[in-house]
């Protein structure tokens, strides 16, 4: 019942029916009680020439103005019975102090009248509530005088026979609704004394509507099975729906916005023919995370400040022995056309377990596996999964985030091909204006940062990183020399934050998220 009523405009006034506050019984009751007011108002409108003001109607009917406002809303809901135009006007009104003054006289007048002919000690006068203000005003009006040398302390005497309390008279004018008789200066003087205030009043100008009538037909809120069975619905008038109120939220579950975006990215890769890599291994050896990618052992990314190392299990076992030798050699001595990094490569460093810093560690494992096939077959791989960095945290950086990665391995791929694939990928995200900046990655050459033109910010913003894997990474794996591997990556959180207008990453992931945000987040269409 409450739910049905919530969709209907019921009863009086502005009551906005929220799920938690609706109370059908009281609404019904107040609706009934005011039928008399409605009809009285309609009769007034019928008699009036051109219409009536709701304030005048309230005064005429002797009810509060809010009651008339409620009646107007109810009548509006019945269709075109009346037309009501909202008006606002300013007028002067007495303040609380002003009302008192109008009734009892101004402070100065009250001081005057409290002084008998034989005078009054000043201390006595000051005890009265109006004493202090009234004394100085009466003094400046020259109504009274002080005899300071009077025996027994200062004493106050009248100086005139009678006075005229103009302040009170002016206030009474305003009270009667004749504020117009006062000039601006007078009104402002009284405003300064906090006796008058200028207020804005909203009222309705009520006139006859196209289906005006002075009688009200009771409206049904619901169509019942009985009405249908008896056919009585034909005679009934139904209340129109209130389309201004919100409906009732369906009882349902919600997917997390970041996961909704992940689903879309997965979909894009699948549409482009990319197969998903098994990235369910957060723990990785430094070997697969760095060494296999030709990332030297002194590289800053391998520093304690950047990477989470494990104390238990601290070291990885078992690497493909021949491959390990080739990796060691290409780092320390070079080979495959490379000078190498010429340093003392240590297996101990490669064995250190870490929380993977990128999903490219998995790409390395997949490419190594691909190289072990008897015959090379072209592949397109993708993954979207968590990676970990022991970095300084801020509003956009957490210790863990999701990396999106795409990889294509085939004979004779060019830098132009990488740009073409990136163009297709970003077009599916609704980003068509791309340009590329030369960059540096230890394991790709050439490397390119991908920028897209942001129409809102009116500038180019970085949207991803990309490159062609180095031969020093691919050839030790055993991939054929004329096979090129192109790859790119971006974070999942950043596009999601932009998509859902979230500024702090902690409002998106982790236990501190506001579930209301999860409940309210729209579906994700990246290209619109």
């Amino acid at each position: 019942m409450a739910d049905v009523l919530a969709r209907r405009s019921c009863g009086l006034g502005h009551v906005r029916f929220e799920k938690t506050t609706s109370h059908p019984a009281s609404i019904g009751a107040s609706s009934m009680a005011d039928t008399g007011v409605l009809e009285a108002l309609l009769q007034r409108v019928e008699k009036a020439d051109g219409g009536v003001d709701s304030l005048a109607a309230a005064a005429g009917l002797g009810v509060d103005h809010q009651v008339i406002v409620g009646a107007v809303k109810s009548l509006q809901a019945l269709g075109d019975v009346i037309s009501a135009e909202l008006r606002s006007s300013k007028h002067w009104e007495l303040t609380e102090e002003g009302t008192e003054t109008a009734e009892q006289g101004s402070h100065e007048a009250r001081v005057f009248s409290s002084i008998p002919a034989e005078g009054l000690p000043q201390a006595e006068l000051m005890k009265l509530s109006f004493g202090k203000i009234g004394f100085s005003k009466a003094m400046s009006n020259n109504w009274i005088r002080v005899d300071k040398s009077h025996e027994g302390g200062p004493r106050i005497f009248r100086t005139v026979e009678s006075i005229q309390d103009q302040v009170r008279e002016k206030l009474l004018l305003v009270k009667r609704g004749d504020a117009a008789q006062l000039d601006e200066k007078e009104k402002n003087e009284l405003k300064k004394r906090k006796l008058l205030a200028e207020v804005t009043v909203k009222s309705y100008w009520i006139a006859k509507g196209s289906s005006f009538s002075t009688t009200i037909t009771k409206q049904e809120t619901e169509l019942t099975p009985e009405m249908i069975a008896t056919g009585s619905w034909k005679e009934k008038k139904f209340k129109p729906y209130n389309f201004e109120a919100m409906g009732v939220a369906p009882d349902c579950g919600h997917l997390h916005p970041l996961m909704k975006v992940r689903t879309q990215f997965r979909q894009i890769f699948l549409e482009m023919g990319f197969s998903e890599m098994p990235t369910n291994n957060f723990i990785e050896s430094s070997f697969w995370n760095f060494d296999s990618l030709f990332q030297p052992q002194q590289h800053p990314a391998r520093d304690q400040h950047d990477t989470f190392f494990l104390s238990d299990p601290a070291l990885a076992q078992e690497f493909p022995p021949e491959y390990l030798e080739r990796v060691k050699k290409v780092h320390s001595e070079g080979g495959y056309g490379s000078q190498g990094y010429k340093y003392d490569w240590k297996i101990e460093e490669a064995r250190k377990n870490i929380l993977r810093t990128h999903t490219t560690a998995v790409s390395a494992r997949m490419l190594y596996k691909l190289a072990q096939q008897e015959k090379f077959t072209p592949v397109k791989y993708f993954s979207i999964d968590r990676v970990f960095r022991n970095e300084t945290l801020d509003a956009t950086h957490l210790a863990e985030f999701h990396q999106i990665e795409g990889v294509v391995a085939d004979y004779g791929l060019t830098l132009g091909d990488l740009m073409g694939v990136l163009h297709q990928f970003f077009t599916k995200l609704g980003i068509t204006k791309l340009r590329f900046k030369p960059a540096y990655n230890p394991y790709t050459e050439p490397s390119m940062e991908v920028f897209s033109y942001h129409e809102g910010l009116k500038k180019w913003v970085e949207v991803g990183n990309s490159g062609v894997f180095r031969p020093e990474m691919l050839l030790p794996m055993g991939l054929p020399e004329d096979v090129s591997v192109i790859a790119w990556g971006l974070s999942l959180e950043r596009p999601t934050m932009i998509k859902y207008g979230i500024n702090n990453i902690r409002e998106l992931v982790g236990h501190k998220v506001n579930l209301q945000m999860v409940y309210d987040s729209p579906i994700c269409r990246l290209d619109s």
Partner: protein, 553 residues
């Protein structure tokens, strides 16, 4: 990525023209740099220390330029200008030459065997008849700092010392001594200190304290003396005050001590190639000899030019362009890689200068050709690679299940994989040793001590953070936990888990039980003992957790 700050007007003066900010930004972008920030000294001081401190500071415009981490040759104004001028065809890359001193023997640095225990390598060179100005001097000091922070890995791999050669006399000895036996007056100090005293003096120095751990625990500390016993430096911490360089210094002795010789040679080459420009004979460097404990003598700086040959076709094929051999040689020359066709087919000979140690493979040369061609001039093509896409089965199942769990009225939570030991043990009434959790050795806070072994703590914390939400809360998460597993090469594996929680003023076990039944229905598993699923009581607090994977037949 290192950031280099240069004064805009000096930069434009050196480049021989002015640019608008947009034009310069564009030039940087094309060349692989990034104009990160346009600021001034005044602005920086006022941002970091407040307006009052900034009042007297210079408001000359500063450009902060991001330089790729492998381009040590672009870490100072001199290098940036040279690189950009050559790129714009306004300058031919200079040729750096190593020369013998005018009469007399080269400076010698003798390494003793004691250094092997702490910092075994050293290289040296001399910049003869150099003219410093305040700008040049500042840039000289700044380049050392940039090199220290980047390729030198905060001085751990290489430390640079620069000295006024006229204040000292060779031959120099690079040795290592017990800290108590080293005593000298360090830079900017008025009295002598022993190495032990210095180490405690610098404990509170905001800059130097970071370098102390490099030698702190060693039995001996490295030290360089001149022939009169004057201390030049105690690498990698501090130089002696006696040989400090100034604007008036004419002859500079540069030594680099290192644990990595390759990097020491690169660092020395960078210092001398960048600043030999200001020598009386520009781009010449006076050689120095380094004598190893075994008597072997090496001459530095190496300033090695290496020649590589590659085919024009290789560059065209890798980049996806069709340029003539001549044109490719021109492109490479603009990147400071002097190149010419050999005349044998489409072969090109490329000379890699000592300023470009980042070029270690033909692919690096190919990239430079692509940069000079302009990445954004390359035609974007679609590879013909034909593949059929496959989903990872575990992820496919997860995706399908998530949809249906939301349809069942539960809302998806997303919690961190890392957490504190307390979260997965104490708070669940377990001992950490029972959890099979992996442990992180270098967490900055307790939030990153372990990887979660169960999804439950995350969901409970989500509930705790959302107590103002209307009840009930019905939450789920399908995600990976990490467990130790000795059968894996890394000793651990992920395990995909499904966890759901029902939170209300009344217990409602039947709600969470119902969700389990629904999940099993979705997975097509029947409720039955034996061939199916059943639930049984457990003593654990985490009684409502089920393993999705293992329960799938």
């Amino acid at each position: 990525m290192p950031t280099v700050g240069v004064k805009r007007d000096f930069l434009f003066n050196a480049l021989g023209r002015t640019y608008t900010d947009e034009e310069f930004d564009e030039l940087c972008f094309e060349f692989g740099l990034e104009l990160d920030e346009i600021t001034s000294e005044k602005e920086i001081i006022s941002r970091e220390q407040g307006d009052s401190k900034a009042s007297g500071a210079s408001d000359l415009i500063l450009y902060k330029i991001d330089v790729p981490a492998n381009r040590y040759d672009l870490l100072c104004l001199e290098g940036l200008v040279r690189g950009l001028q050559v790129f714009k065809n306004k300058l031919e890359a200079p040729r750096y030459r190593r020369v013998s001193p005018d009469g007399g023997e080269p400076q010698r640095l003798i390494i003793t065997k004691e250094t092997a225990a702490v910092r075994p390598h050293a290289v040296a060179a001399v910049l003869r008849n150099i003219t410093f100005t305040q700008e040049r001097y500042d840039s000289f000091i700044e380049l050392q700092e940039k090199l220290h922070q980047n390729i030198c890995r905060k001085r751990s791999l290489v430390a640079i010392g620069t000295h006024d050669l006229d204040a000292i006399s060779g031959p120099f000895t690079y040795t290592a001594k017990a800290p108590g036996d080293i005593c000298f007056r360090p830079l900017n100090q008025t009295k002598e200190y022993t190495a032990i005293q210095l180490m405690s003096l610098y404990k509170t120095d905001s800059h130097l304290r970071h370098y102390l751990p490099i030698i702190e625990d060693k039995p001996v500390y490295p030290v360089i003396y001149d022939s009169n016993g004057v201390v030049l430096s105690m690498p990698p911490i501090i130089n002696g005050d006696h040989s400090r360089i100034s604007l008036q210094t004419k002859n500079v002795f540069i030594e680099c001590t290192a644990t990595d010789l390759t990097k020491a040679k690169i660092v020395l080459d960078m210092m001398v190639t960048m600043f030999s420009e200001y020598c009386a004979q520009p781009f010449t460097v006076e050689q120095a000899e380094v004598v190893y404990p075994d008597g072997k003598t090496c001459v530095y700086p190496e300033l090695a030019y290496r020649k590589e040959k590659l085919s024009g076709e290789f560059v065209n094929r890798k980049v996806g362009i069709r340029e003539s051999t001549d044109r490719i040689a021109q492109l490479l020359t603009r990147m400071c890689l002097l190149s010419q066709p050999t005349g044998v087919g489409d072969e090109i000979e490329v000379e890699i200068p000592p300023t470009r140690p980042d070029v270690i493979h033909a692919c690096d040369i190919m990239e430079d050709a692509a940069i000079a061609y302009g990445f954004n001039n390359i035609t974007r093509t679609t590879p013909l690679t034909y593949t059929v896409a496959n989903q990872f089965p575990l992820n496919k199942l997860t995706e399908l299940l998530r949809q249906d769990l939301a349809a069942a009225g539960f809302t998806e939570a997303l919690n961190f994989a890392l957490c504190s030991q307390e979260d997965i043990a104490d708070k669940l009434g377990k001992k950490i040793s029972e959890t099979r959790a992996i442990h992180i050795s270098n967490p900055k806070t307790a939030e990153f001590q372990v990887a979660r072994t169960t999804l439950l703590p995350g969901l409970l914390k989500t509930v705790a953070a959302n107590r103002k939400m209307p009840l009930p809360l019905k939450l789920f998460e399908i995600s990976d936990v990490v467990l130790k597993d000795e059968s894996k090469d890394v000793g651990a594996r992920n395990s995909r888990r499904f966890c759901a929680i029902y939170y209300n003023k009344t217990p409602g076990f039947e709600v969470i039980h119902g969700l389990l039944d629904r999940t099993m229905q979705l997975l097509d598993v029947k409720p039955a003992r034996g061939e199916g699923y059943h639930i049984q009581a457990a003593d654990e607090l985490s009684a409502c957790q089920y393993r999705a994977g293992s329960e799938t037949p």
